[in-house]
């Protein structure tokens, strides 16, 4: 059995526990030999690869999609998705996606980035793409920490959250406040779609998949920039078990970062 098979079994196991039914097989666009061993146990980021793969297959756009991936845990998604891909220096995907999209306006061009990569070091490329109303899709995985580097404070870290750079808990008076990307991005005139989802329950997974579908559809319809933020568990850096991480998302993350659509327009006036 491939290592990828283990991931699918694990996912199906979780789904069985919760819903007692199989919701999906392996999407063809998921590369089997890499999925399953790169991510830490309980991490939600591989679910983003699965969701993106399912959406691209449903839209029939797998061979016309180009993914632009950031440095960080999310960069492993590049290995999981069987599509053309660009890896960029940290924080720069909206810029590179712009360059690609300007050359191939008929392709779906999307970025996958973490919260630090998009909102902190990547603020300049993000603001650039928003200002120019680039017709790209930005997918931000929000796990409230810098994951790859060992769990430092991110712009999305919660009040009181213990990280390696806030060992006594995040003090808002000293460090500022959590950034709400989906709400902020929705305020830009050139944005067609902005939503926030999560992967903590099968229902939320399916809702988030719908958000990704809408975001890609806006791009295919040439409306404007589209954005999906996805709350992802990072048990390793949260120092929580995978199950407790789900509780933390429900009780801490979602009250701070409410789920839903913040902008959804078919035409930008």
């Amino acid at each position: 059995m491939s290592q990828g098979g283990r991931l699918e079994d694990a996912m199906n196991e979780e789904v069985k526990v919760v819903t007692k039914q199989r919701v999906a097989g392996r999407p063809k666009l998921l590369v089997p030999q890499i999925a399953g061993f790169i991510y830490c146990p309980g991490c939600h980021e591989p679910l983003a690869a699965r969701a993106i793969a399912e959406v691209l297959e449903k839209l029939g756009m797998g061979d016309r999609a180009i993914g632009v991936f950031d440095i960080g845990c999310n960069s492993f998604l590049l290995g999981m998705l069987d599509i053309d891909a660009v890896l960029t220096p940290h924080g720069r995907p909206p810029d590179m996606a712009t360059g690609v999209k300007r050359v191939y306006p008929d392709n779906i061009v999307f970025t996958v980035q973490g919260d630090g990569g998009l909102l902190s070091i990547g603020a300049d490329p993000l603001l650039g793409a928003l200002t120019r109303a680039e017709k790209i899709t930005i997918i931000m995985l929000n796990n409230a920490v810098y994951g790859t580097t060992g769990g430092q404070m991110a712009p999305t870290s919660l009040e009181g959250q213990v990280t390696t750079t806030t060992p006594n808990g995040r003090d808002l008076a000293r460090t500022g406040f959590p950034t709400h990307a989906a709400e902020m991005i929705a305020t830009f005139r050139g944005v067609a779609y902005s939503a926030r989802g999560a992967f903590n329950t099968p229902k939320n997974y399916m809702r988030t998949r719908k958000y990704i579908t809408s975001a890609f559809q806006k791009q295919m319809d040439n409306v404007g920039l589209s954005f999906v933020e996805i709350i992802c568990a990072c048990p390793e850096n949260w120092r929580l078990s995978p199950i407790d991480s789900l509780k933390w998302i429900e009780e801490k993350m979602i009250p701070e970062f409410p789920l839903g659509e913040f902008k959804n327009v078919d035409r930008i006036e």
């Binding site: 590179m96 360059g99 300049d124 200002t131």
Partner: protein, 361 residues
Amino acid sequence: MGERMFIEGNIAVGWGAASAGCQAFFGYPITPQNEITEWFAREFPKMGRIFAQSQSELGSINLVYGAAAAGVRAMTSTSGPGWSLMQETMSDMANAELPCVVVDVQRGGPGGGPIRHAQQDYFQCTRGGGHGDYRNIVLAPASSQESCDLVQLAFYLADKYRNPVVVMTDAIIGRLRETVEVEKIEFGPLPDKDWAVKGKARHKDGKRRIVDHSGDLLRRYPSYRALLQSLEQKMKQMQESELRYEGYKMEDASLILVAYGYTARVAKEAVNMARADGIKAGLIRLITAWPFPYQVIREKACQGGKFLVVEDSLGQVIEDVRFAVEGRAEVHLVSILDRHIPTDGGMILPDKVFDKIKEIQ
């Protein structure tokens, strides 16, 4: 026969890029290169090509990275501070083996510096500029005509080596208006960019393509050493094949001036003044600032020549000349401190260089 135009060096950059089939230009305002970005904003949409004003020089080079990854000829232009901002991605492009052309219209530094001419970016241009082991070919035009022609060569070399190529001019060459014959130059065939990301549907084999600046994540090379060996091989090949310089009155010269860009034209004038005075002066004008003509200079040093470097900085080219002569010859300098007036409008003038020639001959 090409079209004749009376244009600035900065504008000649645009016509050179258009002749070379550049498809995408991304730029950000900074003096003294604004004429370049404005030319592309004006002319490229008319040609059905891509122009976007970026949010910063970080943005410019990143957009170039994206367009280059998509397989088209792409470029940007900037000056001093913006050039510094681009260095991280330049290093990434060297690793990812992405071709592009970047024009640095040099201005004064360090820091914000004056916005007028200077030649202080030589080290940063010729040593790679960003982090890690890599070099870029650096072309140094000394006229509007050369600005047009060397930009075309830059695109060819970038594609040939799959590496960024730098065109290093300065505010004087950029703003000097001269007659230019704009003509497409043929350099020979290049392989298809089969490595570019275009969406799988556009690939004949239907397989995915990945542009990766780490060299590690997807094992583009079997090991880190293999990646470095490949980069080293590329740098050696550039040094062996791409050295370009102009020798002026060099046959019997015993006093050899070394310069590039605007100061090369000043130096040429000083050589003419020296020759009229019976002094056997000559000039090595750098056309490639990297690769550098170490061997040519070393041979002249072995024959007993003296050297005079003329550069509008505190002395950067002179280090390469000293390295080349290995202590065998005297090496003198006319520098930014020898400008005719002390303000940022000061220039190195031929009289000053001629005085130095008479002093050291």
